[in-house]
């Protein structure tokens, strides 16, 4: 009888092990295609498949409009094609407010994988977009309803006066916005003063969550911007964009150099001041003077 119970327990154990193994294997047996992974990581921020234009064009049936070689070449370096005056590339560049599509570090095979995924999505009813919901704050406010408080919250997040919840760097580390009461922003990445009118809210929003720019990815991959933070930042960018006509960009660069040179001159003065009397006296000067005092 006990043998029978042991056998039963072993069988139970085997069933559990096999079930887990089956679950694990199923994960590996039906993975996302390589093209889907790359699309969702790299393209989705700026493009949709069947949901209309975002930052860049809708990619539905893109393979019917351009040849495979053209697409591969454009994805690898759109700017190189524009510089070569490729007519289609120039038209696209102008049509999309001269927004530069970043060069993608992908192989020919990887781009073909993405095209296969786009083809599959184009033929089906699946509409692929980064945006699954309207851009609203957690209180249900839309960007058009955002007031001075929301703009101010966005400005503080942009400047870093209020840290992003998940610890990401302030936007001004790399970006500049010309606006009132704002010190100069960074110059590593593009100026965002007129981004809102170029990309609109959905474009800015999708770049914040699924950036096609590797440098931005490195900064925010592990420190995602929250939806409310994105909302406030977009409200601020919209406000800055609308008011940008009244703003005069200040040349901070020459001030920076001047401050550096002035500071360096003061620093050299300090060096000279501290060691003014060095080696003018013997090292035992103090001892010598102390001895003289005793007379």
């Amino acid at each position: 009888m006990s043998d029978l119970i042991n056998l039963f327990n072993k069988a139970k154990l085997l069933i559990i092990v096999f079930t887990f193994a089956a679950i694990l294997l199923s994960e590996y047996s039906y993975p996302q295609s390589q093209g889907e992974i790359i699309y969702k990581r790299t393209c989705i921020a700026c493009h949709t498949i069947g949901s209309g234009r975002l930052v860049g064009p809708d990619l539905k049936n893109v393979f019917n409009k351009r040849s495979e070689e053209w697409i591969i070449s454009f994805v690898k370096s759109s700017q190189r094609m524009i510089k070569r005056r490729d007519p289609d590339a120039v038209v696209l560049f102008n049509e999309y407010n001269k927004s530069i599509m970043p060069d993608q570090n992908l192989t020919d095979d990887q781009i073909k994988d993405v095209m296969r995924y786009i083809k599959k999505q184009s033929s089906g009813s699946g509409q692929t977009t980064a945006l699954t919901e309207d851009i609203k704050s957690s209180t249900g406010m839309t960007i058009d309803e955002a007031g001075e408080n929301e703009v101010s919250a966005g400005r503080n997040l942009f400047l870093g006066k209020v840290r992003l919840t998940n610890g990401g760097p302030a936007c001004m580390s790399c970006h500049n916005v010309t606006a009132e009461n704002l010190i100069a922003g960074g110059l590593l990445a593009m100026d965002l003063t007129n981004t809102y009118s170029r990309l609109n809210a959905p474009g800015v929003y999708s770049i914040m969550f699924s950036s096609p720019f590797p440098i931005m990815n490195a900064a925010y991959n592990n420190n995602k911007i929250t939806k409310d933070e994105a909302f406030y930042l977009i409200a601020f960018l919209k406000h800055a964009d609308i008011n940008s006509v009244n703003q005069q960009p200040v040349n901070y660069q020459s001030n920076f150099i001047l401050m550096g040179l002035l500071g360096a001159a003061i620093l050299f003065g300090i060096y000279g001041g501290i060691w003014w009397n060095r080696k003018r006296k013997p090292v035992n000067d103090k001892i010598f003077k102390r001895q003289l005092k005793t007379f």
């Binding site: 302030a170 580390s173 900064a219 500071g263």
Partner: protein, 242 residues
């Protein structure tokens, strides 16, 4: 381009760190007495002061600034959360950068124009001084042209450097940086590679214990007048502890 990026940001760092580690240990075990800055202060002092002091104070502030942003990026980001503090940090770093650049430039001029210094100058001395000069120049260029480097270093370069030390190099971001920054990063690793073969090894034997050891009074136990007389020099027995 990919090949070049892979070489500059994966292969070069690992070659540099390996050579640095093995090379410094090997040199310390073999030629311990050369593990020094090989000071030339006895040969020339005045120009040395206006080169060495600005260079060393400048480079120390910059080195520890970079190190802090690498090891404690959150501290730098928190500090920079006030625009005024960010300005203070960036301008101060720029000032110390100018100090290091001017210092290094005068050291290089001194080395090439003073005959006493020129005679003890090796090719490696010139190479490392030239590389440091270029490195500091590029650093200042980066600070000027791509401002708020302290913030983006903490958020972009720190993860890259961490990925190198955790043996999982992530070079996507650094590969897309402007070429000035790429040169600055690559030159930094090249300088690390050259440390064991140059007088830069002295930064590894900085006499930290001097900060807390008691004062030492140096007393010569011979007659100074007698020792300075060339005629009697050979007839005097030098003290054993000197």
């Amino acid at each position: 381009m990919d090949l070049l990026n892979n070489f500059l940001f994966i292969a070069l760092p690992y070659i540099a760190l390996t050579v640095f580690l093995i090379g410094t240990i090997y040199r310390y075990k073999g030629t311990k007495f050369k593990f020094s800055s090989l000071s030339s202060q006895f040969l020339e002092g005045k120009k040395l002061f206006w080169g060495s002091v600005p260079f060393h104070y400048g480079i120390m502030v910059l080195f520890f600034g970079h190190l802090t942003a690498f090891l404690l990026p959150d501290v730098i980001l928190s500090w920079n959360s006030s625009p005024l503090r960010l300005m203070i940090l960036e301008v101060s770093a720029f000032i110390f950068g100018i100090s290091a650049l001017v210092g290094m430039f005068s050291l290089l001029i001194r080395r090439k124009t003073n005959p006493r210094i020129e005679i003890i100058t090796s090719k490696m001395d010139l190479l490392i001084e030239l590389m440091l000069l270029i490195q500091i120049f590029f650093g200042l260029w980066v600070a000027y042209e791509y401002r708020w480097g302290s913030s983006w270093f903490a958020s972009v370069m720190s993860p890259y450097l961490t990925s190198i030390f955790t043996l999982n190099p992530q070079i996507d971001a650094v590969s897309r940086m402007p070429w000035v920054i790429k040169i600055h990063v690559s030159l930094a690793f090249t300088i690390v590679l050259l440390i064991p073969f140059t007088r830069l090894v002295h930064l590894l034997v900085f006499p930290l214990s001097y900060l807390w050891r008691p004062y030492q009074k140096v007393i010569w136990n011979w007659n100074r007048k007698k020792i300075r007389d060339p005629k009697t020099l050979l007839n005097v027995t030098r003290s054993k502890n000197n």
